[in-house]
Symmetry: C2
Subunit: 216 residues, 2 copies
Amino acid sequence: MKGSESDARVDRSAPDGQRPGRPFDHSRDALVLSTTLDLLAERDYDRVTLDEVATRTGKAKTTLYRRWATKDDLIVAAIRAAGRPPEVDDLPDLGSLRADLLAVVDSPWLGGSARRLAIFLNLASAARGSARLAPIVRAEVTEPYVDVYRRLLERAVERGEVSAGLVPRIPLLAAVVPAMSTHALSAGSGPVERSHFVAVIDDVVLAALGVVPPRD
Amino acid sequence: MKGSESDARVDRSAPDGQRPGRPFDHSRDALVLSTTLDLLAERDYDRVTLDEVATRTGKAKTTLYRRWATKDDLIVAAIRAAGRPPEVDDLPDLGSLRADLLAVVDSPWLGGSARRLAIFLNLASAARGSARLAPIVRAEVTEPYVDVYRRLLERAVERGEVSAGLVPRIPLLAAVVPAMSTHALSAGSGPVERSHFVAVIDDVVLAALGVVPPRD
DNA sequence: CAATTACGCTACTCCTCAGTAGCGTAATTC
DNA sequence: GAATTACGCTACTGAGGAGTAGCGTAATTG
């Protein structure tokens, strides 16, 4: 569609400091992007308005549009700015599968489990309605996260903690924690407690793998 | 807020045939309600418009508003018209837990698994944005469905198919199939195949319960 | 200093969509 | 027939929200 594939509207070739005129104020870009994710944790995609991003960050809406051409571009930039889960590059290794799974649950990625779940839900429903967003959400959010679980399970097999015969079930079981917790947030009335994650891990994932949870 | 709690705007006390004037044409009410659910299976709640319900059913939008006061009322009526899952009153009993679980998966409720899942997702996101809809969706859709799974698991314990020690895990395990399948639809790119349901039942639910699936 | 570019602001244009007004007409009861 | 009420239609109001125009001002380079 557009000439360029980048999210940013501004794409001057000069490295920004070599030009005449007032330079961009990038000091609050991070604030804008995290505020966008805040709103996406609170409301549905359609109810996130750029007017509100503007007032919350103290920037003018017109300034936002000078940097991101459309609302979708801003959302995509916010997703990208959040980055992949840190566990992708630094797989937890606490000695037991159970401890490793809990480490992922307790990951600070996207602001911790509560904010992360809310963002998951709203991004997922946004993706369902936008062919542009769908692949990005999948590639940047859903898949990397599930992949961390998958790798933990695979490593548990290598360690001998889980029977090798269960390898074919790993892709499915890797989705159990994300699926059950988003469902709990979506169908339940309140926030998802940590005890719920623990129960999912012990009573569903580890139980299905035949691992006796070493309860402390 | 309103004087009455009913969905319908029209609430004349006379039983409709005892009045002068042209009577209501109820012959296509069912079509309107099922078309509303069709749209809710295709799109997000916010993108379901009464204009489209009107054109698809061949009724005038004004006529719809004569019968249902607001869009929410129409949605609620459509949900209620779909009724509870038939399994609530007629729990499948095919001899094995596995067969019973599959029977629920294959239930025609809400038009079969594909339409049912799509409606689940969109109703859930609608519920998140509307305090009015949320309790109704939970009471009429989510809870009855999960409850069917719960009762099947409880009965498997009574039958001796599942160890009695696992009873405390039943409420959690009852949500596994709905959670995993909505997640698959939401995070995946295509429709959810029946083989996915089978894998969830065999490799997650039955595995977590220590039941050896009698694969055929 | 002049030129240039970003920012904040107010105000605007479009568009979509919930919900309504009013009219002519169709189907009833008496 | 008269009265009454529902239907379909076109047209409208009003709110919300994406995205823009234009202006005065702030921060740079030269």
